[in-house]
């Protein structure tokens, strides 16, 4: 009986990535693809400071957001392993620049708990939960909040105000 129950448990699939040494996850349903940032990035004047620029992804212009800057994390520069995860948020495609993509895993929904006020330096409003898998603590991002156009505009205005 117990086994059956486990099988029936609802699972979610996550793309795990690193910001610094910490592990974060986004629902795979929101991730379109993972790219290496090998082409030139075009800087966009007057865009929020965490928008690194735009790239051409097969004819579409995609803004690239440096998640580390987005969350105000101070970390060493991006290295060889850095990747762009293209995600779909409110019908817009956005590329998230991360230090590394780790793996794709399935976790039971029941393992996800509400986020504490601040986790690994990221405010809870940008998180949808935390999941403990064995020793690992995975932080689930709320992309709607973290990458909302309204939010980016407000931040851009704040940038200009400084």
């Amino acid at each position: 009986m117990k086994e059956k129950e486990e099988i029936r448990e609802e699972l979610i699939q996550l793309v795990l990535f690193k910001l610094g040494e910490e592990e974060f996850g986004v629902n795979i349903l929101q991730a379109r693809e993972i790219e290496k940032l090998d082409q030139g990035l075009t800087r966009v004047p007057k865009a929020p400071s965490f928008v690194e620029g735009v790239i051409n992804l097969r004819g579409e212009i995609i803004p690239i957001v440096d998640l580390r800057k987005r969350f105000g994390l101070t970390l060493p520069p991006l290295g060889y392993d850095s990747r762009v995860i293209i995600v779909e948020v409110q019908e817009a495609l956005v590329g998230m620049l991360v230090d590394a993509v780790v793996e794709v895993i399935r976790i039971p929904v029941s393992a996800v708990e509400p986020p504490p006020p601040i986790t690994k330096g990221v405010e809870s409003q940008y998180l949808s939960g935390v999941a403990k898998i064995g020793e690992r603590l995975i932080v689930l991002l709320n992309l709607e909040r973290a990458l909302s156009p309204e939010e980016s505009k407000e931040l851009a205005e704040a940038d200009l105000g400084e």
Partner: protein
């Protein structure tokens, strides 16, 4: 097809028929006796009724149904076309437009329709109760041509008889065409169908109302065939009659002999079928997004061609170079053709104007004669969608404030009827639209007074300005927002909005006027928004595209010719002071080199009357680029009009220098 696709097709069709309704009603107003126009109105209302009922938009179906009832009475001549009726029909069409607009938002059912519905029903029920109208019932007639009669007479022997069956389908019958087909097939088991009215083709295409007549040669008794027909579901009623061979009704206009079925139930006449069996349409409807996709693919190809060109020139392979060259030409043609598929005639916008002007003139008690020319001029779909509102605004101004009351015109030695002409034509890669009226024109002194009072200009600046420049002050933001300004200036509330909208399309708008004689508004628009001509410039390591529509000229300025005027760099150009702007300052480019240059490349952009010299590092080349949006995430960034993809796959931003100029 998905439901949403059905919906799109429905909306498109609906718009077309509403347009037809509007233009036909206008025509009917001038020619109330014309049955052909009435039929066209009836057909459009009928089509909307059918389509909206199928889609479940019941309010629309109700309104069109009630319109049909009234139109039916008009067609039968039971009531006459009066201004009261045309106004009611116009109001009904307006209501339909409101309902149609409510559909995408799911509000169709919530829109108030009872007023118009009651007015429509008042007519139809009132008329139905008068005995005279009941007597004048429509009749369907089945007649035979001479040759047909000869043929028939030969067949009518040996117990074979000719029957006519008048079949009436139930009103709620859904697939009338199929039903009619079934009935014909059933009766064919009992004999030979010699003729039907409407024809079998029309019946199958559902080009009939609810009833039709079958002519059948059969050996079976009349009553038996009637029973056969009655068994088919959705049949409301059947009347059968035997026709003697020497009583065959002849199909000839004005012949004294007529053969009639008295219709028991009040019914609408069948729709008059198109004269020719419509040839296969030479056009197809294509979702604009598919064309956008196609456009994107072509843009991708163009980018790839760039790479291929580079490789082939490195390899120096003659055959390869030749075929790349060929590819090049084909791609250019392809790009051109794809662009052309997106073009739509400005008629789509212009066709609203006759109705608009009728209403405006009516309300203001003026007489206006509208002339439209060049309605077949084509513009990109995206431009068409955006240009409607500004044009309506301009026309509204012309009728409201330009053209005078008839008495005033006569007193001024003009015809009582004002003239308004709207013209479109293509000039190079631009389309020019002019709106000309012969109204009272604009008095520049009044504009000048207002501009002074509102602090837009100083008396010294006014001194320098030409009449035309003064008149064009009305385009300044906020210039003409108050009512009293409108009335004195004779021109426009919200002309600033008009200019803004047209500028956003990469176009320009100009006013010219002769007091007492009239006003001309000239709008220049790019053919397309998808591809724009740009000038590529480099600043530091960054490449930007400047739309040439904003570029006045490019010049080279010697460093020693740059002066400082109140901390602002300027240079003299043909005796005028040209302010300079180092683009790196607004764009935040860190590695710009133009500060060290001896010779500076300057792009002069203009915004209305103002000119600004933009200093760049290097002028690269003019280039047509496919404009792409930066997407909703970044939204509108001031100074950036969009982005484009360069030959090497990198992204270059397109600058919108109106913000700084």
């Amino acid at each position: 097809m998905e439901t949403s696709e059905y919906l799109r097709v429905f909306m498109d069709e609906c718009q077309e028929h509403l347009q037809t309704l509007n233009s036909s009603l206008l025509a009917l107003e001038n020619d109330p006796e014309n049955k052909e126009i009435l039929n066209s109105i009836f057909r459009s209302a009928h089509t909307i009724k059918g389509a909206s009922a199928t889609m479940g938009f019941n309010k629309m179906a109700d309104v069109t149904h009630a319109m049909e009832d009234v139109l039916g009475l008009l067609r039968r001549g039971d009531i006459e076309v009066t201004p009261e009726i045309t106004n009611l029909l116009f109001d009904s069409v307006d209501l339909l437009e409101i309902l149609a607009r409510g559909i995408p938002e799911g509000r169709e059912a919530d829109i108030e329709a009872t007023g118009v519905l009651q007015r429509l029903k008042k007519y139809s029920t009132r008329e139905e109760l008068t005995p005279s109208s009941r007597d004048r019932r429509r009749v369907l007639e089945l007649r035979y041509l001479k040759e047909e009669q000869e043929q028939l007479k030969k067949q009518l022997s040996g117990g074979r008889k000719l029957y006519h069956f008048h079949v009436i389908l139930k009103e709620e019958c859904l697939l009338k065409g199929a039903r009619a087909f079934m009935i014909i097939r059933e009766v064919e088991a009992a004999g030979t169908v010699v003729k039907t009215i409407p024809s079998t083709n029309e019946l199958e295409d559902e080009r009939f109302r609810f009833d039709f007549i079958i002519g059948l040669v059969s050996t079976e008794p009349l009553e038996k065939v009637v029973q056969i027909i009655k068994k088919v579901s959705d049949v409301q009623d059947v009347q059968g009659e035997e026709v003697a061979p020497d009583e065959l009704p002849e199909e000839r206009r004005g012949s004294g002999e007529t053969y009639r079925f008295a219709v028991q139930k009040e019914k609408e006449p069948e729709l008059s079928a198109p004269v020719s069996t419509s040839p296969t349409a030479l056009t197809v409807r294509v979702d604009i997004r598919k064309l956008d996709d196609l456009m994107n693919l072509v843009a991708e190809l163009v980018i790839n061609r760039g790479r291929l060109e580079q490789i082939s020139s490195e390899l120096q392979h003659e055959d390869l170079e030749e075929s790349v060259e060929h590819l090049n030409r084909l791609l250019l043609e392809l790009q051109d053709d794809v662009l052309k598929t997106r073009m739509v005639a400005v008629e789509h916008v212009f066709s609203r104007f006759p109705r608009l002007i009728r209403d405006l003139a009516h309300r203001a008690g003026k007489q206006v004669d509208l002339q439209i020319t060049g309605a077949d001029t084509e513009l990109d779909r995206t431009v068409i969608d955006e240009i409607g509102d500004p044009l309506v605004h301009i026309i509204r101004n012309s009728v409201d404030h330009g053209i005078e009351q008839p008495e005033e015109r006569k007193a001024g030695g003009k015809t009582a009827t004002g003239r308004l002409s709207v013209n479109a034509h293509q000039a190079g890669n631009q389309v020019v639209i002019t709106v000309v009226d012969d109204g009272k024109g604009i008095e520049s002194t009044k504009i000048a007074d207002t501009a002074l009072a509102k602090g837009y200009v100083t008396p010294e600046q006014l001194e320098e300005m030409s009449e035309e420049e003064i008149i064009n002050l009305v385009f300044l933001p906020g210039f003409s927002t108050s009512e009293e300004v409108t009335d004195v200036s004779g021109r426009g509330v919200g002309m600033d909005v008009v200019r803004e909208r047209i500028s956003a399309l990469g176009g320009q708008v100009q006013l010219s006027s002769v007091p007492g004689e009239g006003t001309t508004v000239t709008i220049q628009l790019p053919l397309t928004l998808a591809i724009i001509q740009t000038l590529m410039v480099q600043i530091g390591s960054e490449i930007y595209a400047i739309p040439t529509s904003l570029v006045d000229q490019t010049i080279s300025v010697d460093r020693k010719d740059i002066k400082k005027l109140r901390r602002q760099e300027v240079t003299m150009l043909r005796g005028e002071v040209l302010p300079l702007l180092r683009l790196q300052d607004v764009l935040g480019v860190k590695d710009a080199r133009n500060l060290e240059n001896e010779e500076l490349d300057v792009v002069i952009v203009r915004n209305g009357e103002r000119r600004l010299g933009c200093v760049v590092d290097t002028l690269l080349r003019p280039q047509d680029v496919v404009i792409k949006s930066l997407g909703t995430y970044l939204g509108n960034i001031p100074g950036i009009a969009g982005a484009t993809i360069l030959g090497d796959g990198r992204v270059a931003l397109i600058l919108d220098l109106r913000a700084v100029a």
